[in-house]
């Protein structure tokens, strides 16, 4: 039997109709995101300060969600380029909570392991590791660890050294990790329960 080429797959569409994708995104976003109301006007894409660097504009992402293009959406860098400026959210004529949907897409990409360039998600992970263990974040340690994980990022950044040194000298910041909060045990329990609820 000759090998069949699925035209839909070639076009980036999931072979099986994945019409539940939009609903899933909606369910995984806090509050009522109105995501199904998009009229494809492009206000979001036009407003986005990071739009030039995105694989797809936010508007295109909403069209792809409708088309059920799960993989293409979750693999795209769009949500990771989002700087949470909320311009799109306040300007969207359909009152879609676009910034919140970007967070949801990041959540889904991480959970499905489809993240392509892990710079951003690793940064978030490193940041959160400090928080999950100390209850506080730690800027110096964060910058250091993050650059260890992503040395090529450090290469891309011309002259990062003065900035790190400046943190210590000019700002008198401590190179030691932050003080652990007293209620760390309670916080750990809270986060554990929250993770269970998220998975449910």
């Amino acid at each position: 039997m000759p090998q069949m080429i699925d035209e839909r797959a070639k076009a980036g569409l999931t072979p099986e109709e994945d019409l539940s994708l939009l609903h899933e995104v909606s369910m995984k976003t806090a509050g009522d995101s109105h995501v199904e109301m998009c009229i494809q006007c492009g206000t979001c894409g036009g407003s986005c300060p990071a739009g030039m660097d995105m694989d797809h504009t936010p508007r295109a992402i909403f069209a792809m969600l409708r088309a059920g293009m799960r993989e293409a959406v979750l693999k795209s860098n769009t949500p990771w380029m989002c700087v949470s400026c909320y311009y799109c959210t306040v300007r969207c004529p359909q009152e879609i909570h676009i910034t919140d949907v970007m967070y949801t897409l990041k959540n889904m990409a991480v959970q499905s392991g489809m993240v392509q360039d892990s710079t951003a998600s690793d940064f978030s992970r490193t940041f959160i590791n400090f928080v999950e263990n100390y209850g506080r974040s730690f800027e110096i340690g964060l910058a250091g660890l993050h650059n260890l994980i992503h040395p090529r990022l450090a290469l891309r950044l011309p002259n990062m050294a003065p900035m790190a040194i400046g943190m210590l000298t000019k700002k008198g910041m401590s190179p030691l990790p932050p003080k652990r909060i007293k209620g760390m045990k309670g916080l750990k329990k809270i986060l554990k329960r929250a993770k269970e609820l998220e998975a449910a």
Binding site: K28, A30, G31, D32, P49, A50, D53, M81, V83, C85, Y86, Y87, T89, V90, H97, Y103, K106, N107, V110, T119, A120, S121, F123, S124, F127, I128, V131, G135, R136, S137, F138, E139, A143, L153, R156, P158, N159, M160, M163, G166, M167, K170, K171, G172, M173, S174, P178, I181, K182, G183, G186, L187, I190, L191, K192, R193, A194, K195, L197, E198
Partner: protein
């Protein structure tokens, strides 16, 4: 004396020490009593929300729960950082709007013996408290050293005026709150069109090219187009991006900007007559010394040529928008 519950946020203890010091100095001068939330935790910035929804909100809500417990009559949580402010406000908003979601978060909190009643506390930023509770008149009354001659670019950033769950700001794109405050201090405030444009957020760590471009837009517009002496920020993350990364940005674009980025409380402190050192001056990457020395020695720099305000010589401009009930049906006098 006004009492508030205070959520400082992580950077106030490290990179934004200058902010912390100046906030304390200014609040003392204005009789604002800040009661720090006991054993508060990091709000997770934008990072936790990116990874997992429920834990992210639970992390934020723990602070609200502690604050509610400790509230003791005062119902307002004040945050000096825009990102912390928005996270706290967002958690409160969604727990309130989406009852099932609120229940889930409380179920998580219960694992740590805590509970938060959505809608119980008002979450506000320090700027809003200074403007609306203390008031411009009270601020003006404290000014002993007006900032006359200092050209400042007011920079509010994203997360204060947007999405603005509580409808606290005059506009989502061109809010004038910070302008008003700085003007009350006697500064020469420019009409900065990018006052709520993005500082780059966490992109400095992730996609520096993207971030540097955003920083460049802000700094170059303030410097080249508006000849500002300093830019004023209301958020430690904005200040850090624009200040600490300005050097890298210059390297990236082969430019040479030296735009000092100060906290609004630092300028308030100066105007109130506090000592510059106590207000954390000197910890910035781009030195503010030259800019400040101009007004310090009372010899204002020859005024930089500000962009000429276009006078509508030919056709009249529409009058400013009058809000709500008042409508302008009557003709106004011709400007001639």
């Amino acid at each position: 004396m006004s009492d508030y519950i205070f959520y400082p946020g992580c950077s106030m203890e490290s990179s934004a020490k200058a902010y912390y010091d100046s906030v304390m100095s200014v609040c003392q001068a204005l009789d604002i009593q800040l009661n720090e939330i006991d054993d508060w935790n990091c709000c997770g910035a934008t990072e936790y929300l990116s990874l997992e929804r429920m834990p992210a909100y639970a992390l934020i809500a723990r602070n609200l729960a502690l604050a509610e417990k400790q509230s003791n009559g005062s119902k307002t949580v004040v945050a000096p950082c825009s990102a912390c402010y928005l996270n706290l406000a967002k958690a409160d908003h969604y727990m309130h709007e989406d009852k099932a979601f609120g229940k889930n978060i409380n179920e998580a909190l219960a694992a740590g013996g805590l509970h938060y009643t959505p809608g119980k506390l008002a979450v506000r930023h320090l700027l809003d408290v200074v403007l609306n509770d203390i008031g411009l008149e009270a601020v003006k009354a404290k000014v002993v050293k007006p900032l006359t001659g200092l050209r400042v670019a007011p920079y509010i950033g994203c997360m204060l005026p947007r999405p603005d769950y509580g409808n606290r700001y005059s506009d989502t794109e061109n809010p004038t709150e910070l302008d008003d405050l700085l003007r009350a201090l006697g500064a020469d405030v420019i009409d900065f069109p990018l006052r709520t444009a993005c500082c780059g957020g966490h992109m400095t760590q992730i996609g520096p090219g993207t971030a540097f471009e955003l920083i460049r837009r802000l700094v170059s517009t303030a410097a080249d187009q508006y000849k500002a002496d300093v830019m004023v920020a209301v958020c430690p993350m904005c200040q850090m991006n624009l200040d600490a990364f300005q050097g890298q940005m210059n390297g990236y674009f082969k430019t040479d900007y030296h735009m000092p980025i100060l906290f609004f409380t630092q300028l308030m402190g100066i105007a109130f007559g506090a000592d510059a050192k106590e207000l954390g001056f000197g910890s910035e990457f781009v030195s503010a010394r030259e800019a400040m020395s101009r007004i310090g020695v009372q010899t204002p720099e020859p005024a930089a040529d500000a962009p000429a305000k276009k006078k509508p010589a030919g056709l009249p401009m529409p009058p400013p928008l009058v809000h709500a009930s008042q409508t302008t049906t009557h003709s106004k006098e011709a400007g001639q």
